[in-house]
């Protein structure tokens, strides 16, 4: 059995760890609300843009653009959105697992990657994947301009015909307790069927095709930005849960260690008493 001193030392160390995880839990809880709020506030832009694009595409017949024509082949580029830091449970591994699974199923394809976030980037470097572009250090308040270079690099691959499709993988924020690893198509635009048409007789200036050329990249950017925001909210939610579990585990550990320490202490006292009693008895004889 461990000595009393060792046990006390362990209790102290676990207690300080628990203090840290508790603090991290509280910080994440505060951040998750703000991150959620940012996701909601960013939604109208993408929604309105989508409405406008769908309408424009309906008005322009025979439009040929790599962003709207159905993918010509199976080659995909993945924009992998992960967190910069760990301590958020299985969040990143879940996202990376679905990406790697896709990659394994089609090993013959090149699978270039654009990495947003350190964890995914490091993973892809380790696996020796072709990382076309990367962004890290976005912090808690990612700005859309932060991710633009990476998104543009991905779009360039598509425009120059090196890939047929761009997918984005991230942890979708469902609720505080649930984040779902998601991989979905970013470009070419996946057009929904039932969108209300806008009033007709629109003047387009410059002409519709040129405008569309400008708007389509914005749409992809907005969708990617949305994914990054959701991933940030997911990160904080997952971190909150992971830290809560860690705090609970630390508490359990402290309890059982304290119990053991008390037993050892009592055993020590009993032994010392026995010594004294034994010594006294020996003198009497």
């Amino acid at each position: 059995m461990a000595s009393l001193r060792d046990l006390r030392r362990r209790i102290k160390s676990v207690t300080s760890t628990e203090k840290i995880t508790k603090a991290m839990e509280l910080v994440a809880a505060a951040k998750v609300r703000r991150a959620q709020d940012r996701v909601l506030r960013a939604r109208p832009y993408a929604e309105h843009l989508e409405q406008v694009i769908v309408d424009m595409i309906r008005r322009s017949q025979n439009l040929k653009h790599p962003y709207v024509t159905e993918p010509a082949g199976p080659r995909k580029l993945v924009i992998l959105v992960t967190t910069d830091r760990g301590l958020c449970g299985a969040l990143n591994s879940n996202t990376m697992r679905i990406v790697l699974q896709e990659m394994r199923e089609h090993q013959e394809l090149p699978w270039p990657v654009v990495a947003i976030g350190k964890k995914g980037r490091d993973m892809m470097h380790r696996l020796d994947r072709n990382v076309v572009a990367e962004v890290t250090g976005l912090g808690d308040r990612p700005h859309v301009t932060d991710i633009l270079p990476a998104v543009h690099a991905a779009m360039e691959e598509l425009e120059e015909g090196r890939v047929d499709e761009i997918d984005i993988a991230y942890a979708k924020f469902v609720s505080l307790g649930r984040q779902v690893a998601t991989m979905k198509r970013l470009l070419p635009v996946d057009l929904p069927e039932d969108v209300e048409p806008l009033p007709s007789d629109f003047d387009y200036e410059p002409e519709l095709e040129m405008l569309l050329e400008e708007i389509l990249p914005r749409y992809a950017e907005a969708m990617a930005y949305q994914a990054v925001l959701e991933n940030a909210a997911s990160e904080q939610a997952a971190k909150m849960l992971a830290m809560r579990n860690a705090s609970e585990n630390a508490n359990d550990l402290i309890k059982s260690l304290t119990l053991t320490a008390n037993k050892v202490r009592q055993a020590n006292i009993t032994r010392e008493l026995m010594d004294i009693v034994g010594g006294a008895a020996a003198l009497e004889q």
Binding site: A42, Y45, V52, P199, D201, Y204, E205, Y225
Partner: protein, 153 residues
């Protein structure tokens, strides 16, 4: 007077302004243009500049840079790349951005992103100064902002 137009200024981050206006003016690709209620439906590009919204009894000034505007007879939606309320412009930040952009341009004169950033910073500074003037003298609002003549459409 005709029914006011419902106006929404949306950036990738948030809905910056939502309200009903009697008139608004913004920088289009062929110069400034104004929108009154009942405007011909149109869609066009927004440049860097000042967006002015006139409500019944108040005026709002916003800085916008890049994006699109969709106009219908009773609504205007601006999908801006960058937008900020003029009163929220932080001159310190703008100055920093200006210095950064200038530095980048000195290293590489062909840097288009830096050139655009510089233009934005200079314009923001100008709008901020105009705002300061407005705060001091409320009599002649428009005269402090040097702008090409407004194009009616």
């Amino acid at each position: 007077m005709a029914e006011p137009i419902s106006v929404r200024i949306i950036t990738p981050e948030e809905v910056l302004y939502e309200g009903r206006a009697a008139f608004l003016r913004m920088p289009g690709i062929e110069g400034e243009f104004g929108v009154f209620p009942g405007h011909q439906p149109m869609m066009t590009v927004v440049k860097t500049g000042e967006l002015k919204i006139i409500e019944d009894h108040s005026e709002h000034y916003l800085f916008v840079s890049g994006g699109f505007v969709e106009v219908t007879p009773d609504s205007v939606v601006v999908l801006a790349d960058v937008a900020e309320r003029v009163e929220n412009i932080d001159p310190k930040k703008v100055e920093e951005a200006r210095a950064r952009a200038q530095e980048a341009l000195e290293r590489n004169a062909g840097d288009q992103a830096a050139a655009a950033a510089l233009e934005r910073a200079l314009f923001q500074m100008k709008l901020h100064e105009a705002q300061q003037h407005r705060r001091h003298s409320r009599d002649d609002l428009a005269s402090h902002i040097q702008q090409p003549p407004m194009e009616q459409s």
